[in-house]
Symmetry: C3
Subunit: 438 residues, 3 copies
C-alpha cells in the first residue's frame, strides 16, 4: 500500500494515545549524551521498531571533536543535618546537573550555594542543566526548596562515574525502492523532559512503524542519537554515505499545544522545505516557517557547510520559546496525545508529497487532449462549473513539460498536492502522462 | 502613418458607436461551433475587413481531436396542448440547447422536464447551454416560463441536423514590414450573446480596420474561429507557422462596464504581458492582472505546453464572473459603446507599445551628451524644473545599453511608454541613439 | 590602526564643530564652474589635506563637451537714480546670475525686469541662478527688494570676464594596500550655499583626514570638481583608470536636519549599495534608499552607461526637496554641526564595511568546530543564552563557504556588520577561517 493511500485510513485519536504512552514509558529514564540511560531508551525503542545500536569508544576522534567519557549515575542527594534528603535524585533526575562528577562531602550552605541552580521566576519548577565539557557538579532545585534551606551543614553526594566507555546511538533503516534516503533525526540525550525530546523520539518511532506497513520509493533512516556529539559522531562514521540523503527532518518539540513551526534547511529551497511549506499552508491552521539559522538542534551539524544536507527542523513551539523548556514543567501533562497526533499526521502528509513528487511529461502536449472521450470529465460544458478534479487534470497537463514537478504544479495552481497527484495518476492510466526519464 | 501617430486622432465616441452597431448586426444569428451561423457571421465580417474563410471537413483529425459533424437548425419549439408555442426558437436562439439532435415527439411534462434548463436565481433570464460532444437535446427557458407550464402533453420539436459537413473559420491577414506576427483570436461560436463574444469579434474587426490604415512593423493575423475545436483546428493546420507568432491576444468580454482584466500568457513575462501591464497601469483606471491558468478561452490551446505561444487574454469582466454570463441578459444593453471604445483604445495603446518597443544603443555612452547644444533642452539650468520630456531623454540615454528595450526603460523610470518612445525618436534624429543590430 | 578600530574613539561633537568651521570658512567665496573662486576653495582645502590641483584649458574637448571659457567676477550692482546700490554683489554673491556676461548700462525698470529673478513664495530669500551655456546676464534678489523698486532709471553693472582660461579641479589621493580605489566626489561650483554643497566638501575633507591616520586596504581618491563639466573632464582625463574604482560615493547635502538618503548606483547591487543599506538599517534612525535615476548630481556621469561605475549618492535631504535649496536660506544656520557629524559617522561605518568586507573559507566545514575548547565560548550549555557574539561565530562559520562575503552574512543573519567582522577576526586567530584566495 502506498504512503498516500494508507494515511487516510487512520483511526482518529488512537495513534496519539499510543505516542503519548511511549513518552510516558520513556519518561523516568535518566538520559545523557552517553551512558546506560541512552542504552535503556534504545532498548525500549527497539521493542517497537527494528533498531541497530552502535557503540563508539570514548576518545574516538570525530572531526574537530572527541567522543567524551561515558557518564553514569546511580544516586545523588543533599542531606540536611538531620539526615533528611532535602534534594533527592530519586525523586527527579533533573535534580542533578547532567554529567556531574562524583562528590561526597559535607559543607556549609554558603559553600554549597554556588552549586545550586534555581528559577526564581518559576519558583515551583526545577531547571535542567548540563555541563558536558567542563568537569563540575551541581544540583537543580525549585526556588521554593532553595528558599527553605536553613544555614548549617549539608551532606552532598553525587554517586556518578565519568570514565572511558562509549557513546551509544541507534538507527532504524527501512529500505525502499531506491537507495535515495530520507533521514529523520531525534535527540535522545535529555532526561525526564517530555516535549524536548521524548515527543520527537515518539514521533520518529511511529513514523517508522507506519513506513514498515507501506511501500515506499525512498529508503528511510531514523537516527536516535545524543545531540551535537551524537550527530557529529554519526556524520563522521557515515561521511561517504551522506550523498544518498535527499530529504531530511530533525524532529523535536512535537507535542505541545503551539502551532507548527518549520525551520528551513540551509539550502532554503530543498524539496523538503517546499513540501513542508505546502502541507502547512493547506492544513488550515496557523503555522510559522523560518529561514535556516546556525543554531538550534542537530540541523546545525547536518547543515554545516561541509555537508549542507537538505534537512530542516520540524517542531511545534521551538526550543527556548516556551517557559517550560528545560524545566520540570516540560512533563507528561505539557505534552498531549492530540498534539502528538497532529504532528504525526502532518509528517505523513509531508511524506506523501516527498514520495509522490515526480516530474511527468505530457504525451499530448499540442493543445489539450480530449478528456471527455476518455471519461475524464463530463461533456455538458459550462466552464463555470469546472470542478477541482478537472482543474487538477488541466494544470497537470499544461505544466507537465519536464520542468515542473507535481509539487511545483500544486504551488503554481494553489491546488492541494493530493489533487494534483490524483490527476497525475488518472492521466498516467490514460497514457496522457509519463514519468520523465532521468 | 505609424500606429503611434494615428491613434491620437480618434474622434471620441464614433468608433464605440460603430463597434456597437456591428454587435447589433450580428446579434440575431444563431451561431455554434459549426454550421451556417458561423458562415453568415464571417460573411458579414468580410464586408468590413479582408477575410479568407476556411472549411475543414467533419472527421478530419486535429491533434487529439476530430472535427465534429456540422450542426444546423431551422426551427424548434414546445407547443402546449392548445397548439401554442410556449417555447419558441424564433423568439430567442438560446431556447435550444446548442447542438441539440433532432426530435419531434409529444410527451408529458414529466417526461419533458429533464430536458428543460432554467435559472431559478434569475427567473426572467434564459440560460445558454450547449452539448457538443454528447448527443442529446434540450430547451432553455426562463424560470418564470417554466413555472407556468401546466401538467399535460406537449409537442416538442427540434428541427435540426447533425451531419457530416465542415467546421468554418475566418482569417484576416495584414502583412507588415516583417513576417513576425501578432495574432488576435476571437471565438465566433456563441449564439445571441453580446459580451461573450460579439464584443470580442467587434473589437478584433475594428483593430483590423485601424491597422489597414497604418504602417506597421508586425504582420497581423485576426482569427475568427469557434472556441476549443476551432483554435485546435487552426493550430493543427498552421503548426509549422506558429513560430512566427511573437505576440498575441485572445479577445473576449470586451463590452461590459467592468474594469479591464488581463490574464497573462503561460510564459508570464512575454512582451505582450509587459505591454498590457504597462498600458493598464498608466491608463489611470482600475484593472486586474492575473497569472496564467489552464482554463478560460482559447489561450488554453495557444498556451498548451507544445506551443506555449506568447499570448494572453484581454477582457473586461472575465467569463463566469458576471451573472449575465451565458444568459439572455448578456444582451445589447449589457454591452455598451463606451466600454467597447475604451477596450479599443487600450488595445491601440498596447499596439503602440508592441510596434515601437525596440532596443537602442547610446552612441555617446561615456558621460551624458550635451543635449542643450542640440536644442534638446533649454540651458537655464535649475535642475528642479527638469521636465518630463527631459527625463525621458536622460532615461533613454542612460539605459540604452543594448540590454534594455524601451518598455523596460519605461518600466524602470515610471514614465509612460509614449514619453520614452518620443525621447528615443528625438535622440535618433540627433544620431545619439541607434537601433541595436540583431 | 585599522578603519574599524579608530572610529570608536571619536570624541562626540568635536568633528562636527570642525566640519562646520570649514563650511563657515569657505562660505563667502564666490565659486562657479571655473575661475578664481574654485581655485581659492581648493587652496583652502589643500591646507587641510594633501591636494593636487589640475587646470584644463578652455576649449579642450571632453567627450561630447568642451571645457568652457573661464568666468571671473569682481563686482556687480544695480544703482537707483540716487546712486544707491539697491542690489549689491558685495553683500551676497547670489545676487548675480552665475556666469553673467559683463554689462554696464543705464536702463528703465521695465527694461531691467526681465533680468531680475525672485522667489515670490519666499519673499525674503534670494534665489540662486546660473546660466553656463547661454550667454546672458541677470540679478537675483529677494521679492521684498524687488517690490520696493520704484519706476525710473537704474545703473546696472556686472564687472565680470568670460574669457579663455581654465577649468580647475583638485584631487586628494591616499594610497592603500591595494590599487583598488574608492572614489569620493563633491562638487565645488556653488557660491554661498551651505548644504549644497559646502557640506559635501567638508564631509569629504574630514573623511580624507581620517583616512590619513588609518591603515586601509583600498586606495582612496577624493575629487573636488565643478558639477557636470568637472566630472566629465575628470572622466575624460582618467578614462583608462576608472576600472580601478571598486566603490564610490557622491557626497552632497550632508548637513541639514533631514534623514539620511541614499541613491543607489546604476548597478543597484554594488557593494557600496549593500554597505550603505546595511549601515542605515542598523543605525536606528529613519532613512530612505532610492533606486538609481539618471539625474541628480555627478552620479549622472559616473553612472553613464559607458562607465557604469559602482557609485551611489549619499545625502541627507536630496536636492530640490527642501525649500531652502538653491536660495540664500541654504546658509550657515541651515547646516548644523550635529548633522554634519552624523553624516560623517555614517560614512565611517560605511568605510568599515567596505574595508573589512571579505570572503572567508571555513577550515573545519564538516560539523561545527568545538569552540568551547578554544575558549571561544563558555561550556555551561543552555542554548537559550547563546549570546550575540556566539551567534556571530556560528553564522560566520556556517556561511563562510567561499560564496558569502561578511556583509552577506550580516544581511542573512540580521547581525550588525561589526559583530560579524569581530567573529571573523576571532575565528581567523584560531585558524578556523582563512581568507578566500582570489
Amino acid at each position: 500500500m502506498r504512503v498516500a493511500d494508507i494515511r487516510v485510513q487512520l483511526e482518529a485519536g488512537k495513534v496519539g494515545r499510543d505516542m503519548h504512552q511511549l513518552v510516558t514509558q520513556l519518561y523516568p529514564i535518566c538520559r545523557s549524551i552517553t551512558g546506560d540511560g541512552v542504552r535503556e531508551t534504545l532498548r525500549q525503542i527497539g521493542q517497537q521498531i527494528p533498531l541497530s545500536v552502535h557503540e563508539v569508544a570514548s576518545g574516538t576522534p570525530v572531526f574537530d571533536w572527541t567522543v567524551p567519557k561515558e557518564w553514569n549515575i546511580r544516586d545523588a542527594y543533599i542531606k540536611d543535618s538531620s539526615g533528611k534528603r532535602v534534594v533527592d535524585f530519586k525523586r527527579s533526575n533533573l535534580h542533578v546537573v547532567n554529567y556531574s562528577v562524583p562528590v561526597h562531602r559535607t559543607m556549609s550552605l554558603e559553600e554549597l550555594k554556588p552549586h545550586l541552580h534555581t528559577l526564581p521566576d518559576y519558583p515551583d519548577w526545577i531547571p535542567y542543566r548540563a555541563s558536558y565539557y567542563q568537569e563540575t557538579w551541581g544540583f537543580c532545585l525549585s526556588h521554593r526548596q532553595f528558599a527553605e534551606l536553613a544555614a548549617g551543614e549539608y551532606e552532598v553526594c553525587v554517586d556518578s562515574s565519568l570514565e572511558d566507555g562509549h557513546l551509544t546511538y541507534g538507527e532504524c533503516y527501512l529500505p525502499g525502492e531506491t537507495s535515495d534516503e530520507v533521514l529523520f533525526s531525534s535527540h535522545v540525550c535529555h532526561p525526564s523532559l517530555c516535549n524536548d525530546n521524548l515527543s520527537g523520539i515518539s514521533l520518529a518511532v511511529f513514523l517508522a512503524k507506519y513506513l514498515q506497513s507501506a511501500t515506499h520509493r525512498y529508503s528511510y533512516r531514523f537516527l536516535f542519537a545524543p545531540t551535537t556529539i551524537g550527530s557529529i559522531t554519526w556524520l563522521a562514521k557515515n561521511e561517504t554515505r551522506t550523498e544518498r540523503i535527499k530529504q531530511g527532518l530533525v524532529l523535536a518539540c512535537a507535542g505541545d499545544a503551539g502551532r507548527m513551526t518549520y525551520k528551513k534547511s540551509r539550502r532554503g529551497n530543498a524539496d523538503v522545505d517546499r513540501a513542508v511549506a505546502h502541507v502547512f499552508k493547506h492544513a488550515g491552521g496557523d503555522f510559522e516557517i523560518n529561514d535556516f539559522s546556525p543554531w538550534g538542534y542537530d540541523e546545525r551539524q547536518f547543515c554545516s557547510p561541509g555537508f549542507n544536507l537538505p534537512m530542516g527542523c520540524l517542531m511545534r513551539t521551538p526550543n527556548g520559546r516556551f517557559p517550560e523548556y528545560h524545566t520540570s514543567a516540560d512533563n507528561l501533562e505539557f505534552v498531549r496525545a492530540e498534539h502528538l497526533e497532529d504532528s504525526y499526521r502532518k509528517c505523513l502528509a509531508i511524506l506523501d508529497v516527498l514520495e509522490n513528487n515526480r516530474v511527468y511529461v505530457n504525451q499530448s502536449p499540442k493543445c489539450e487532449p480530449r478528456l471527455g472521450k476518455r471519461g475524464l470529465y463530463a461533456g455538458l460544458g459550462s466552464r463555470a462549473q469546472v470542478a477541482r478534479h478537472e482543474l487538477g487534470l488541466l494544470w497537470v497537463l499544461n505544466f507537465s513539460d519536464g520542468d515542473h514537478d507535481l509539487l511545483g504544479i500544486a504551488e503554481k495552481s494553489g491546488l492541494e498536492f493530493s489533487t494534483v497527484r490524483e490527476a497525475a495518476d488518472a492521466l498516467c492510466q490514460h497514457h496522457l502522462l509519463e514519468l520523465r526519464p532521468n
